[in-house]
C-alpha cells in the first residue's frame, strides 16, 4: 500500500449535493480530500448554511479531541535530535554546548 496521496475512496461530483457533502465532511476537515475535490466541498459550504453549520460542529468536536494530545517528551526529543546529528562520523561540525 502506498502511504501517501489523496484518498482514493472518495469521488466528489462537480456540484455535490448536501448528502454527499456531509459524507465527505470528515475527510475534508482532515485535509484528506484530493486537490480537485476540496474546493467543491468548500464551495458548497460557502453557499449552504445547513452544511456549514454541520461542518462547524464537526470541526469543534475534532478540535476538542485534538486538544487532548499528550505532551511530547522533550527530553527524549532532545536526546534523539543529538543522535541524528551525530550520524556521520568524527569530522562533523562541533556544536557549542547550550
Amino acid at each position: 500500500m502506498t502511504l501517501v496521496g489523496p484518498n482514493p475512496g472518495l469521488r466528489i461530483s462537480e456540484e455535490p449535493v448536501c448528502l454527499e457533502v456531509v459524507a465527505a465532511l470528515q475527510a475534508h476537515l482532515d485535509g484528506e480530500l484530493a486537490e480537485r475535490d476540496a474546493p467543491r466541498i468548500a464551495g458548497h459550504l460557502a453557499r449552504c448554511a445547513r452544511c456549514a453549520s454541520e461542518a462547524a460542529t464537526v470541526r469543534e468536536v475534532i478540535d476538542r479531541i485534538r486538544r487532548q494530545r499528550p505532551a511530547l517528551d522533550l527530553g527524549a526529543l532532545g536526546r534523539l535530535t543529538g543522535v541524528v546529528e551525530r550520524f556521520g562520523g568524527p569530522d562533523r561540525p562541533v556544536r557549542p554546548a547550550p
Binding site: 501517501v4 468536536v61 476538542r64 499528550p70 511530547l72 534523539l80 556521520g88
Partner: protein, 193 residues
C-alpha cells in the same frame, strides 16, 4: 550509496558522505516528534519509546541509500512499525501477527494500558471529551490516537493498524460521533473556547 562510497566511508568521511548525512538529517529531524509520539503509543512506555525510535533511526540510516527521498515520514513510520514488531516478536514469540498489529494504544485517553494514570498529560479543562475518549473501544481509541493525537494521515494510520483506509475512516467517524453525542448530551457543542 555505492560500494565505493562504502569503502571510503570506512576510511574517512568524504564530501559525498557529508552530503548524504546532511540529507539524512534534513529528512529525519522534522519527523522525530511524530516518531516519538507513535513510538510511545506502540510501547506504552517513555523509555521504551525512546529506545524504539533510536533503533528506528539506526535502521533508517543504514537503509538510507535505498530510500527514494520522497515522503520521509511514511518511510520512517514503516521502519518504526517493523522495528517494533520484530522486537515484540523476540520478546513475545507467542503473539500472533494480528495481535502485534493491534497492540496499539490505550494510552492517550483515560489512562495508560498498564494502568498507570497519566492525567498530567491530558487536557484537564475538557473532562467530557476526556471521559468519552476513555469510554471508546480499543479500536476506536486507536484511530483517534493515531490521527487526532499523533497527527497521522488516514493512510499512515491504516498502515500502522494493518487495516484498509476505509476502516480507519469509518472507525474515526464512529469514534468522533460518540464524543459528539456526549458533548451534545451535555448541551455544550458550540461552547465557548
Amino acid at each position: 550509496m555505492s560500494a565505493d562510497d562504502r569503502a571510503q566511508r570506512s576510511e574517512g568521511t568524504t564530501a559525498t558522505d557529508r552530503d548524504v548525512e546532511q540529507r539524512f538529517r534534513e529528512q529525519v529531524l522534522s519527523e522525530l516528534p511524530v516518531l516519538l509520539r507513535v513510538g510511545r503509543r506502540l510501547t506504552l512506555d517513555a523509555g521504551d519509546a525512546e529506545d524504539l525510535v533510536q533503533d528506528t533511526l539506526v535502521r533508517a540510516y543504514r537503509a538510507f541509500d535505498r530510500f527514494d527521498g520522497r515522503y520521509p515520514r511514511a518511510w520512517l513510520l514503516t521502519i518504526l512499525r517493523n522495528t517494533h514488531r520484530n522486537a515484540l516478536r523476540k520478546r513475545r514469540p507467542d503473539l500472533m501477527d494480528d495481535e502485534v498489529a493491534h497492540r496499539i494504544p490505550d494510552q492517550g485517553a483515560a489512562g495508560r494500558a498498564d494502568g498507570v494514570p497519566d492525567a498530567a498529560l491530558h487536557d484537564e479543562l475538557d473532562p467530557i471529551v476526556r471521559t468519552s475518549l476513555g469510554s471508546l473501544s480499543a479500536r476506536h481509541r486507536a484511530v483517534i490516537a493515531l490521527v487526532d493525537l499523533d497527527g497521522l494521515t488516514y493512510k499512515e494510520a491504516a498502515h500502522m493498524l494493518d487495516v484498509p483506509v476505509g476502516t480507519v475512516m469509518s472507525r474515526l467517524h464512529r469514534a468522533r460521533a460518540k464524543v459528539r453525542a456526549q458533548l451534545e448530551a451535555e448541551g455544550i457543542t458550540g461552547a465557548p473556547r
